[in-house]
């Protein structure tokens, strides 16, 4: 004796948020039922485990049928098969494209290829996120990437329009796409302490300031790639460390400004040349794609770690970077003010974000 077929179809498609989340999380029907039972729905609604099972299966089926549409969220609004109120549609899309920070840290900056996808079971074991959920998230990244890769115009806006995502989520996806495209290394041990939001913030900075789209002509250019010309120009900054006079002058200007204002003055003074060399060298190397990948490692190794070992506070950091940036403009022989500003603006906000006390 068994239920052979069990179907419920509403004119307005009924979707339970809780079950949807369980489905997204990759739970099997039976696990989902267990979770729901523990959640106490049964007592609330005088239901039995059987009823829960039937409901869960039914919902899962609905979600599976909807999934095809969720891959192209714009279709969800003008498809005829399911009658879903707009607010529900928005919820479905938002949750479908939501991702786990733990997961995204694992694949951030990796090529969104089949190879990476094959490694997802390792990611799953490591993060405790079900493989099914990992795959969904990965496929989402890849899908968004593929669609916006070739599109012109502002990245965030493109994502928002094509996938009908809320602003914040669209920004996150922009970061993921940007990282994947430039293959920034984020997995090294030294970077483990950083959260996805740290990187997303930096990505935002880079997109807004260092890409082609960041300069004038927003419409025609792309946000995904860094501005090659700018990277070329960055090489000119080398003068700040190669020219001995400039370096000394820069140091003394910064030291004068900071004297008495910071507790780590001595360490700062002692390390100035190393730190400055670190930052300028990063700038100079960015023209090589390979070095772009190491951008964050370099930042951490060359700047953040030394400062941290000297126990700088964020305030110290902020103070130092402000004066470091500004003093360069006072240098007589330094001509590359625009590039310097464009470079240091991003570097400063990134470092401040990446520097955890």
């Amino acid at each position: 004796m068994s239920v052979e077929l069990d179907v419920f179809v509403g004119n307005t498609t009924i979707m339970d948020k809780e079950v949807y989340q369980l489905w997204l999380n990759g739970y099997t029907v039976n696990d989902a039922v267990k979770v729901r039972i523990e959640g106490g729905v049964m007592e609330e609604c005088e239901a039995s485990a059987e009823v829960l099972l039937s409901d869960t299966m039914d919902q899962y089926r609905t979600f599976q049928m909807c999934e095809r549409l969720l891959h192209h969220p714009a279709k969800l609004a003008n498809q005829l098969l399911f009658q879903i109120p707009p607010d529900r549609q928005a919820m479905l899309i938002e949750r479908y494209y939501a991702f786990d920070d733990l997961f995204v840290r694992e694949v951030l900056g990796k090529k969104l290829s089949k190879g990476t996808k094959k490694d997802l079971d390792d990611v799953s074991t490591k993060t405790g996120i079900t493989l099914k959920s990992c795959r969904r998230q990965f496929d989402n990244f890849k899908r968004v990437f593929k669609v916006v890769e070739e599109l012109k115009g502002p990245l965030v806006e493109n994502i928002r329009q094509h996938f009908l995502l809320p602003d914040q989520l669209a920004r996150d996806y922009a970061a993921i796409v940007f990282f994947a495209n430039n293959r920034f290394e984020t997995g090294k041990k030294k970077l483990q302490y950083l959260t996805f939001q740290d990187f997303a913030f930096c990505a935002g900075q880079l997109i807004n300031n260092w890409t082609l789209g960041a300069v004038d002509n927003m419409m025609e250019d792309m946000d995904v790639d860094l501005d090659k010309e700018f990277l070329q120009d960055l090489k000119d900054l080398k003068i700040l460390i190669t020219d001995k006079d400039l370096l000394d002058q820069h140091k003394s200007l910064v030291c004068t400004a900071l004297r008495g204002k910071t507790n780590v003055y001595n360490e700062m003074e002692a390390n100035f040349k190393n730190l400055s060399r670190g930052l300028v060298n990063i700038a100079a190397k960015l023209i090589n794609a390979k070095d772009v990948r190491d951008f964050f490692i370099d930042l951490v190794e060359k700047f953040i770690e030394p400062c941290r070992s000297d126990k700088w506070t964020s305030i110290d950091m902020n103070l130092y970077l402000t004066h470091y940036t500004n003093s360069a403009h006072i240098l007589d022989t330094f001509k590359h003010h625009a590039v310097w500003t464009r470079y240091m603006g991003v570097i400063k906000s990134c470092i401040l974000r990446l520097y955890h006390d």
Binding site: M1, S2, V3, E4, L5, D6, V7, F8, V9, G10, N11, T12, T13, I14, E44, C45, E46, A47, S48, E50, V51, L52, S54, D55, M57, D58, R61, T62, Q64, M65, K75, A77, N78, Q79, L80, L81, F82, Q83, P85, P86, D87, Q89
Partner: protein, 1089 residues
């Protein structure tokens, strides 16, 4: 050339990829009507082609317009091989043929393929130019409106109700044609779909012709069904009620002045004209939902026999009136008889005085006798035998030659059944059957035909011959009254009053009053005086197939009551099988009836509405499912409890067991009474209810009644016995029954359920509605006993309900309305249950208030009503009675407080039993029950519009979607909204087949998708007609077959409903111009695209 059909193909979207190489499609479209086909250009390499074709014009007969669907096929062009079909769209253009319905079909329609389901959408424009030729002899019936709704559609008023129309057409089922062996499943499915489209078109046209013949212009309660008889063919049959409808032109304002807007009604002042203004109309303020539609029927001031051109009618049909006049003096109750005859004569001309309506204009339904039903078992393979000996050979014949006589076989079958129904109604003293429906269940070559309805007495007001009778009646009236005075036959006062004023006086309880002769009751029943008016007899319990009349006064709330039964039978063939089934049927019905009765009593209720008994036949079992909505009618006596009696009394433990059970039952009854808020005005009931009234009570009782009629006291005594249902415990069936009784789990908090349109006691619906369909198939183990089967079947239904409650928990507080269960036995050991219903949520706070209100007010109102009636009678019969049926007497009785001793009688079960079986033997499966009617709770809805519109607004946020929202509901209305236009009937038939069942998610995945697709197609077609809702939606057929071993499944679904445009009441208030602009908008929108 009476018509020109024009179609334009605009664009496609979301097409499937047909060319793997390019991931694109080269689509073009074929537009076919009849034998003419047009093609669009190929739109290369696109999944969203823009054809923007010219207008394809078809010049056709209107007969074809009615029969044929417009067939649109989307194909992928292939240079080298044959073009691949992407899918099809069938468009029923019938709605365009009626001037009052839709004017254009325009919108995105899903492209459907029977193997792949929906594959993209196509945007089309369809119009029809009809040339008028109304006067010539026609084969077509363009312009006759069809409604699935089983009441007079809102925004129309009934001028006349002509009566029953039926038709059936038979054809060979393409699935069983020899060619099916060599063609693809797709081709076969499409042939079938197309054929059924054609057949239902033809059927509709033929019914339309009948309606025109009768002088009507519409069919209401149109019910079309398919019988898939397999080898022996495909039957499409339909029944309906022919009416003459008139559109209520403008909104609320005019509706309240019927005489203004219906000049055709000749106001005839009757003999008692002067009294008319003084006659209080007790129908009260109708519910807001129904107000506009119905108020036009109930002349607010006078009972004047308004009728269309009564004089002409008289001259046209002189014969009927005389007969009734002559036989007026018939023995026992001459007046009653006369009353009956008046309308009877109107109905006698009709072959079948049947009405598929379940809701009636006020004043139309006078009395309800009870449920009548008839079943017969037929062998399908017999059909051909007389005509052509060999089935195989006939297939090779041109089937047109023999289809001619085939419908006659079926016609004869149905005729038999209808005759039986008619005679059952007669034996209940009724001349009409309302809430009438027909159904079949087929298993292999055995077919059970069933028909059921509610025997009733109708007013002649809406009937063709009405005016004639009225004239007659009026002239006879004085005579009748006179005779009453002298003869004083029992209850005659009542009759005389009812004769003249029935329609005016007592909408509140009149329909409960027995229509049959109480000295000659066709079944054992306990009659008492009506608890509302105290003048007429009412039965103890009333079963009906109709909806609860709006004006009925109900105590508390109602609930869904189901009786479920499974009976095994031996596998057999042919005649033996048919005999075995027909032998089982009476017992099945009897047990279902007992179960219903027990469950009704367990809930402390006394009437069932919307009763639907479905019997399904399989190879090794019979399934019976009876669903109805139980209510407590204020006019009927309070039901007795259930008494359990042991037959072997000596054993103490046994007695304890019994008393335990008894206690459980009593507790449940008490609990249920609380749950459904059944607190009848106890005192009134007490007096008649207790077996031996205390002397004091008795004397009072006598006083209040004796003056009016001498024999009342006697009758009161004889019927004073309380009707407690006795279950004898060592009867195994009884044990089973008790078990079934107590295992029915109550609905969870916040939920109510009913299978009727509305739930008594709840009015303040919000606009949140959710229609749904749920299907379950259950596999049984072999070798189950009857008990085991019963339990499984019952659990299956219970669990299904529980699942529904759980699913819809977010809508609490809510009521599942129009819960329509259909059971089938698709295969041996499989039980299929399908449910379609709508969940309506309501406002809790107000309910409570309301409940209180109605609880408090009902008794008072009832008394006032009596008051009115009594006084009225007084005036009328001044010479006869010495008056003094004063309201005072009544209220005195009413206020007499006395604790109600749980009086239980060891009475009638056995009696009933034996007489029941007797009846069954007669093959007259007449489930009967009394009747009720009162004014009350329904009408109290009126002070609520504020709350309703508030909740509407809160729900409004919904709109901005790019696909228009289309509501679907099995009800005939949309809460909080007003239907402003009916766009035509939706009647669609789909087949879906798969040979990759696993890949599509197994049987559940397959069916889930298919049902969702059907919904989507219904919505799209409604939207294309310019509508925003389907009302009276029903899924009439869901035939599911699977073969998991072959990874195959097939499903057929037939749905129907009425496409409408509705406007929220809140919006209506703002702008009354809105509706017009809405309609023009839609048609404009059509042109624009």
């Amino acid at each position: 050339m009476p018509g020109k059909l024009k179609a334009k193909i605009v664009a496609g979207r979301h097409l499937p990829v047909m060319d793997r190489a390019s991931d694109l499609t080269d689509a073009f479209v074929e537009v076919k009507f009849g034998n003419t086909t047009f093609k669009t250009d190929v739109y290369p390499k696109s999944l969203n082609p823009q054809w923007n074709s010219e207008w394809f014009k078809f010049e056709v007969d209107d007969e074809d317009l009615q029969d044929e669907p417009l067939q649109i096929t989307v194909l992928d062009h292939d240079t080298y091989s044959a073009n691949d079909a992407i899918g099809k769209v069938y468009i029923d253009i019938d709605p365009l043929l009626c001037s009052e319905a839709a004017t254009v079909i325009s919108g995105w329609l899903p492209i459907y393929d029977t193997i792949h389901g929906i594959r993209g959408e196509i945007n089309v424009l369809v119009k029809v130019d009809l040339f008028n030729d109304l006067n010539r002899f026609r084969q077509s019936s363009c312009g006759v409106k069809f409604f699935c709704t089983t009441s007079i559609p809102r925004c129309y008023r009934a001028i006349m109700v002509h009566g029953f129309v039926e038709e059936l057409v038979v054809n060979e089922d393409p699935e069983y044609q020899w060619i099916d062996r060599i063609r693809t499943p797709r081709a076969s499915n499409e042939a079938r779909q197309r054929l059924i489209f054609l057949m239902s078109g033809e059927l509709q046209r033929k019914i339309g012709l009948k309606v025109l013949e009768m002088g009507g212009n519409a069919v209401v309660g149109y019910l079309q069904c398919f019988d898939l008889e397999g080898e022996s063919g495909l039957v499409v049959r339909a029944i309906g009620t022919a009416c003459t409808l008139e559109k209520i032109s403008t909104f609320p304002a005019t509706a309240t002045h019927p005489s203004n807007s219906s000049p055709s009604k000749d106001m005839k002042e009757p003999v008692f004209g002067e009294e008319a203004p003084g006659v209080p109309l007790s129908s009260g303020p109708p519910t807001p939902l129904r107000a506009q539609t119905f108020s036009s029927f109930s002349p607010s001031k006078s009972y004047s026999r308004q009728s269309s051109s009564s004089d002409t009618e008289l001259s046209l049909t002189p014969k009927t009136g005389m007969g009734s006049g002559g036989s007026a003096g018939k023995d026992a109750g001459p007046l009653k008889a006369l009353l009956k005859q008046q309308t009877q004569s109107a109905l006698e001309q009709r072959e079948y005085p049947f009405f598929t309506l379940t809701v009636f204009p006020p004043g139309f339904l006078l009395h309800v006798g009870g449920v009548v039903s008839a079943r017969s078992v037929k062998l399908l393979d017999r059909i051909h035998n007389p005509a052509l000996g060999n089935t195989r050979s006939y297939k090779l014949l041109d089937w047109n030659s023999f289809t001619a006589d085939e419908p006659e076989t079926r016609d004869a079958w149905w005729e038999e059944i209808r005759q039986e129904i008619k005679s059952h109604a007669k034996s209940l003293g009724c001349h009409a059957v309302v809430g009438y429906s027909e159904s079949t269940s087929i298993c292999e070559e055995v077919c059970i035909l069933s028909a059921s309805g509610t025997a009733a007495i109708l007013s002649s007001r809406f009937m063709q011959d009405g005016p004639l009778d009225t004239e007659l009646r009026l002239s006879q009236q004085p005579l009748c009254v006179f005779s009453t005075g002298s003869e004083r036959v029992e209850g005659d006062m009542g009759s005389s009053a009812s004769l003249g004023f029935e329609e005016v006086v007592s909408p509140g309880c009149g329909f409960c009053h027995i229509p049959y002769d109480e000295l000659n009751i066709p079944f054992p029943a306990q009659l008492t005086y009506c608890y509302c008016c105290r003048r007429y007899k009412v039965p103890d319990v009333l079963f009906t197939t109709i909806d609860l009349p709006t004006e009925a006064s109900v105590t508390g709330k109602g609930c869904l009551i189901q009786a479920r039964l499974c009976r095994t039978k031996k596998k057999a063939q042919g005649e033996v099988n048919a005999t075995a089934i027909s032998n089982l049927l009476p017992f099945l019905e009897y047990e279902l009836h007992t179960q219903l009765m027990n469950k009704l009593k367990l809930r402390g209720m006394n009437a069932l509405f919307g009763l639907r008994i479905q019997i399904s036949v399989g190879e090794t079992m019979l399934l019976g499912l009876a669903s109805a909505t139980g209510v407590y009618l204020t006019a009927l006596p309070s039901p007795g409890g259930i008494q359990i009696v042991g037959k072997t009394p000596s054993d103490i433990t046994y007695e304890q067991h019994i008393s335990n059970m008894q206690k459980k039952i009593n507790d449940t009854i008490t609990k249920n009474k609380e749950l459904y808020e059944i607190n009848p005005p106890e005192v009134v009931e007490e007096i008649i209810g207790s077996p031996i009234p205390e002397p004091r009570q008795r004397s009072r009782l006598f006083r209040s009644h004796s003056e009016s009629s001498d024999d009342v006291s006697e009758i009161d005594l004889s019927h004073g016995k309380k009707d407690a249902f006795v279950l004898e415990i060592d009867d195994t069936d009884a044990v089973e029954d008790i078990h079934a009784l107590l295992t029915d789990s109550p609905t969870p908090a916040g939920f109510y359920s009913c299978n009727t349109e509305i739930m008594p006691g709840i009015q303040n619906w919000t606009s949140a509605i959710q229609m749904f369909t749920s299907v379950r198939v259950f596999r049984l183990n072999a070798n189950l006993t009857n008990q085991g089967l019963n339990k499984i079947f019952s659990d299956l239904c219970e669990n299904l309900l529980k699942s529904l409650y759980f699913k819809l928990r977010s809508m609490v507080p809510c009521c599942l309305c129009h819960l329509n269960f259909t059971v089938a036995i698709p295969e041996d050991e499989l039980i299929q249950v399908a449910v379609t219903a709508v969940a309506l949520s309501f406002d809790k706070e107000q309910t409570l208030e309301n409940g209180k209100q109605s609880g408090e007010k009902t008794p008072i109102k009832a008394i006032t009503e009596n008051d009115e009636q009594l006084q009225f009678n007084l005036e009328l019969n001044a010479e006869t009675s010495s008056s003094s049926i004063s309201p005072k007497g009544l209220s005195e009785v009413g206020s007499h407080p006395s604790a109600r001793a749980p009086s239980v009688d060891y009475s009638s079960f056995a009696d009933r039993c034996s007489s029941w079986i007797e009846q069954l033997k007669l093959k007259a499966h007449t489930i009967r029950r009394g009747s009720v009617k009162t004014t009350s709770s329904m009408e109290k809805a009126s002070p609520l519009p504020e709350g309703r519109s508030r909740s509407l607004r809160s729900n409004r946020s919904y709109s901005g979607s790019s696909v228009a929202v289309v509501k679907m509901t099995p009800l005939s209305f949309i809460p909080g909204a007003k239907i402003i236009k009916y766009l035509g009937i939706i009647n669609m038939f789909f087949i879906r087949e798969t040979s990759s069942l696993r890949e599509e998610g197994g049987v559940s995945g397959f069916l889930h998708t298919f049902i969702a697709e059907v919904f989507a197609m219904v919505r799209a077609h409604v939207a294309a007609l310019g509508g925003n809702a389907v009302v009276s939606y029903s899924m009439k057929e869901c035939v599911f077959m699977e073969n998991p071993n072959k990874n195959q499944a097939q499903c057929l679904i037939n749905v129907s409903g009425d496409a409408v445009i509705f406007v929220r009441e809140s919006e209506l208030e703002l702008t009354s111009v809105q509706p017009q602009s809405a309609t023009t908008q839609t048609s404009n929108g059509g042109e624009g695209t």
